[in-house]
Assembly symmetry: C2
Homo-oligomer: 752 residues x 2
Amino acid sequence: VDIKPYSLSHLKVALFSAVPRPHGKSLAHRSELKQAKRIVVKLGSAVVTRDECGLALGRLASIVEQVAMLQNQGREMMIVTSGAVAFGKQRLRHEILLSQSVRQALHSGQNQLKEMVIPVLEARACAAAGQSGLMALYETMFTQYSTCTAQILVTNLDFHDEQKRRNLNSTLHELLRMNIVPIINTNDAVVPPPVPNSDLQGVNVISIKDNDSLAARLAVEMKADLLIALSDVEGLYDRPPGTDDAKLIDIFYPGDQQSITYGTKSRVGIGGMEAKVKAALWALQGGTSVVIANGTHPKVTGHVITDIVEGKKVGTFFSEVKPAGPTVEQQTEMARHAGRALASLDPEQVSFLLPQYGRVLKYLIPQDVFSREGRSSPLIDRLSLSSAKLNSLAIGLRQLAVSSRDSVGRVLRRTKVANNLELEQITVPIGVLLVIFESRPDCLPQVSALAIASGNALLLKGGKEASNTNRILHQLTQEALSSHGVTDAIQLVSTREEVEDLCRLDKLIDLIIPRGSSQLVRDIQRAAKGIPVLGHSEGICHIYVDNEASIDKAIDIVRDSKCDYPAACNAMETLLIHRDLLRTPIFDQIIDMLRTEHVKIHAGPRFASYLTFSPSEVKSLRTEYGDLECCIEVVDSMQDAVDHIHKYGSSHTDVIVTENEETAEQFLQQVDSACVFWNSSSRFADGYRFGLGAEVGISTARIHARGPVGLEGLLTTKWVLRGAGHTVADFSEQGSMKYLHENIPVPQKGFS
Amino acid sequence: VDIKPYSLSHLKVALFSAVPRPHGKSLAHRSELKQAKRIVVKLGSAVVTRDECGLALGRLASIVEQVAMLQNQGREMMIVTSGAVAFGKQRLRHEILLSQSVRQALHSGQNQLKEMVIPVLEARACAAAGQSGLMALYETMFTQYSTCTAQILVTNLDFHDEQKRRNLNSTLHELLRMNIVPIINTNDAVVPPPVPNSDLQGVNVISIKDNDSLAARLAVEMKADLLIALSDVEGLYDRPPGTDDAKLIDIFYPGDQQSITYGTKSRVGIGGMEAKVKAALWALQGGTSVVIANGTHPKVTGHVITDIVEGKKVGTFFSEVKPAGPTVEQQTEMARHAGRALASLDPEQVSFLLPQYGRVLKYLIPQDVFSREGRSSPLIDRLSLSSAKLNSLAIGLRQLAVSSRDSVGRVLRRTKVANNLELEQITVPIGVLLVIFESRPDCLPQVSALAIASGNALLLKGGKEASNTNRILHQLTQEALSSHGVTDAIQLVSTREEVEDLCRLDKLIDLIIPRGSSQLVRDIQRAAKGIPVLGHSEGICHIYVDNEASIDKAIDIVRDSKCDYPAACNAMETLLIHRDLLRTPIFDQIIDMLRTEHVKIHAGPRFASYLTFSPSEVKSLRTEYGDLECCIEVVDSMQDAVDHIHKYGSSHTDVIVTENEETAEQFLQQVDSACVFWNSSSRFADGYRFGLGAEVGISTARIHARGPVGLEGLLTTKWVLRGAGHTVADFSEQGSMKYLHENIPVPQKGFS
């Protein structure tokens, strides 16, 4: 039996001491929470106990798991826990029930059980009865992670008496030094019960009235970096949760306190939200960062603490430093508002704005906006805005100016519903787009131009490595927008914001467009909660060479499809060859060409079975090589090729090479992919080559836009009905009106 | 302190005995698992232990929580557990490390720790050391749920000796009778270690070689109804997981065993998948149902056991009774296949098929297809297919036949990309639709006709209360389809299938359309994983009466919008009134009309502030009353009305009543809803009234279809490119070709 060395924390107790750590101001941003070394985790009674009064065992175990993990990372963890009263309650109640029931059973038979009186239990007695069991449970659980615990019971007097305070302080430091997790609780058995709803005495003094103030006091006393206060609320809302527009506050600054409306009746008497906030602000002033979050949500409790420490947007983060700019939520609001103004601009104004934007970019971009130091030359290529890039950008913008003329507000359908009742279906922008792009900063002006042309508000999230370039490009973009009073329609999201957090803003963002690697697309598709993502993560494209194919066309198309740009999503991955072509010149010539082009060939199972010495067999017929590699497989017929494509393809782009028109048309009809081609390279699957003007991306989704997506993919429609007091009652059997539903012709796109 | 009576299980020990239960055959369907009274839960070592050798505490706690919950429901639960070896390993290793390190520290200072040799531990010693700790942990955990546990250690010999077997049996029965959870483990400290990869001796004999066979043997011995075997695999796959097309088997029948290909090397030596299946089949033959599932997935472990008992599709269910029909996965495959044939039918054929379908329905439906007994008369109304319903259905089908002519395969865009290179964007069906509808069976033929007209495959899931009617309607539908060889394109899903399970089939289904209450839509939107849902869950529609409104139009429109059908999603919920109208005749007349129509009025905060005696103030301005109730609020201007609608509306349908055309046009332009009307009732927001022929539903989504959705909402597009050997290299700077991108006119919808 082989055992990997795992946790040496037990040993640290004997051999190491904790490294001393300077204590300064509270941490300013969520991203800095990773650095927190000393952390106090406060578990409210709602976290520790279940509704039925017992302990929430699974929840507690996963919290212990997280605390132990952070402890094993070398952090110093302390727990302030509730739950002794509830634990004791359950225990005492059972004792009483059992003794009562036995007595009853002896005296009066079995069926009297319902009438049993359950006595009202006194909280202090419960606390006394529960404390030992609660600690035993913590100890059992932490033992699983080789972590020692220690029990500390305190009363408010311990903080008032200087000598006691110092003793407590040095005990806790000693425990932390020995890598032990102190578990702190109020000594409920001896202290007077806390007074519900009584106020804390200002922010400079804090009295220990509940576990929130206890945790705050301890955290400051111990110079903790972070206090995580878990209860059954998500965090702090700007008004009582449940009322219209109540919003969870992501980051709370002491100065913002006036903007909060607390509920008149807090559901939790002791430790209600106002008390929590006071305690948090007190801790913050003392140099400890605070996060208030929900520790009872079954789906997140398993990682709520580690998520907070990793800087994710969980609950409400209390920070002393208010960042200069607006929050991403405010940015979205600003963008949506200005976006509506953008959408109502005259088409003439837009087609003037776009070339102007191109000129601004071309002449105002400084030569060098990023540091080349320590960067590889391909990265520098991707990052730099060469004059060639800027030139083609300017050309693109002029083209876009033309195609934007009839994009927003175009009438798609016009119907005379009845006399004086006319219906129009017109194109309108989708709303707020979030575009997430990687290192290429030229994506920013391209996407911005598409947003301008389609009247959409836009949030841009670029990579950190091009943050300078992106900032300058964004300033120039707003410069161009400002001339039409729509400056805020395009917003650059701070690099501090995590992509994953942005993908959760389903109430704010209408469509996400990832621009980058297929890994990026996959990650975003996974992270997006309730927001559609435009894009595709796979491009497994097939070329089927029919038995009636022309040799020359087959060779040209296969070469172009595979070798023109092997990393592209529209490059060929699998070559399907009709069985009749095996051991014919056309087959040999294709193989020779692939060898000449240094394409590594993998054999499909059927192809391999035809050969004496076959190349390496494919692991999966569903592979996207993205390189000078491809799979060759043999099929019996065009129909067989279609079946193969349906089974193993990704519905991106599939091609038939044949001289037989009937075969070709059947293939084009049957193959169920976004792009289906006859006698042309798969590489034509591209917005620019299709003549769409600009490309938003290629979609393999089956709803909304499919295939290469141009401006139209950024538009939706609305129905406009103009009447003269019409009601549906007019059209009832007794009514005076009849539906006409006459279609009225509308001008076609591209011909207006 | 008030305590609710919670679990009396402790008392049952003393006072009650378990009710005896007859044991018959294994349960045939997942839905019957709810009835399972006696359940064995087997926890594989992967479930109980973590990678780092310790116990998986959070996981174990949530499993204990579920077992205790089921026990408290009155079921008899037994646990077969692994983990003693791992538990002991960790314990022994720490002891050894600690003693070694102290020795090293004494001899050679602190930094030699890395060189420490960790000894190989013997499994039996580990088991001996771990057993007590493991049991203590189970006991601590179960105590939290007032549940007693008992430890049973067995060896294979205990089953061979008849006397021992009887003793074990009666001990277990006695424990169950006393409501105690027996926790069973192999006595690893004394038995020879199990032989890896050795086969079980046929299905009639089973030797205890691992915990799978132990659990199976025990389950049958104890006449358990259900054995849940949890390990780190999702269940049984039809071929080795990870290979192309490996599929998780939902229900496995003994006869299907030949269709399984096991991996040559099972990752888990002992208790590998083949052994698990043999043990499961053995238990099944003995009358115990079996489910094999994953107990290590962090997101589902918290409810895997209760989900299985509730009949949800988790893991692989072993059943002796093979249902007559295909599985839903097979149905989807059949539907997709036949759907492709349907999509390739000639438009003439489709427009012949639809009226024929109408005739089949009209003449072949038997008078009474459901029992009226014990049903309320509104339900009978909803369920019955009156001749009026059938008549309007037949009319609808004839209309659909006309509009279907240019739906599939319609050219939306045609571009001459270059000489001999022509691009078309054509409409194609979306693929496989899942329509979930509630009690109205007339939904079935309507939706089927839409699927036929749009060439989509269709899965229908109707309510249980109309299952007879639905079955007959579906038979008639297939009858009509069979004449064109596409019988299978429309499938009726068994009532046994859970909606939630269907919503997870993201690889099979392309679009879900819920037809029913807004609660149904919300539930499905929540349940759908990675499948788009077409529909809307909210309709908060506004009528804004401008200060320049005509009195008559305002009264007619408000009355029609609110009272024509108050439960409809396009009914008015909020009436916005321009401030200047307060205390004018127009205002009084509107209020009088609403009173006459018995509409209950709620006041918005501003409206309330204008009144001396106001009606009840609204709880939220975002309320959908769905009844003869509405909210009235005062706004300062058209712009203020627009802002109110953006803030509180649901982007469904919003109306302005005004005689000022300029104000109206600004409202129509600015309001960002699916339908925006001028001087007409909100009730016109409807596919039939819009002249779309048939209505799929109303969508408030911002991508794909928006507003009332007709046939077009069931279509997507594909790009067809026809070339003559074109490659993109031809168009490079050195190439011979130039892009032309000339638009070619295409015929307009409705004018062909």
